[in-house]
Symmetry: C2
């Protein structure tokens, strides 16, 4: 069975026990989380989020660069007033360079590209960089808390990056 069919099947159980049909659109805890798409990281379980609590933005690496559009909408239209960035140990973004992936895309798909893939070599610095990107964006609110965490895929523990 395809994953899509498995999702439809698994959802029947979720919907059968669903009790949260009256939640408002704006996040109840007024926070946006930006996290990596990594399969091993479940931001809701790892951070104690229930349905209705927080915007969760995810992409390869949990990079701020891809998240500006979403954060503008989150802050301007849906009232979030705090941002938390979550990267993690053993991230795929540490395993390749942008040049290498550009070459692979051209070889495998026949499509030349100068796309930036936002890979990084220093995990803690990648978190600091993304906190800075968010704090300094002219499209985002100033004077709200923006903090950065690392999730350890071996222990399930998050720690703050200073």
């Amino acid at each position: 069975m395809s994953a899509a069919d498995e999702f439809l099947q698994a959802n029947q159980g979720y919907a059968a026990n669903f009790t949260k049909g009256d939640l408002p659109m704006p996040p109840g805890r007024h926070v946006a989380v930006i996290a990596c798409m990594d399969a091993r990281l479940d931001p809701a379980r790892a951070l104690g989020l229930e349905e209705g609590d927080a915007h969760v933005i995810r992409n390869a690496g949990g990079r701020a660069s891809d998240a500006i559009r979403s954060l503008i909408i989150s802050q301007q239209l849906l009232g979030t007033r705090e941002v938390v960035v979550v990267h993690h140990t053993d991230c795929g973004m540490l395993t390749f360079g942008d040049d290498q992936l550009r070459k692979q895309v051209e070889q495998k798909l026949g499509t030349p590209t100068d796309m930036s893939f936002d890979s990084f070599t220093d995990l803690a610095q990648s978190v600091r960089d993304d906190v800075t990107t968010i704090k300094s964006s002219p499209y985002l609110l100033k004077d709200i808390p923006v903090r950065g965490f690392i999730y350890d895929v071996k222990t399930g523990r998050v720690s703050e990056v200073q």
Copy 2:
């Protein structure tokens, strides 16, 4: 207490009971999910995902436009071979127009912008459009399944968009 501090506190319980420290980096179910950042949607709980199963990419609207970089990495480096797009009822993206938000950003932050916010007016069509964007991207694999779902925030149920 800030949400960030609450996350650190909630994580202590998650880490204390953590038993999934040996998962490999590539998603076990070889699938990438693209979903809206909406607080009411928890893709893991709603679709039956456990840690290690799937890449989960999320942004405002669950739009494919922001997700191409992440999907290239997911497919070329981490072996996913299926994509599922999940938008949802009562989406914030149905409540504004791009022009209106551009004006608000300029008024509130003093930053003129011609950014595309990818708002939409027809929910089912937005899913079809994003499936088409992914299927037709020269940067992504051809001949793999790409399917689109709508999650109903009132019932917790997902249904497929044809």
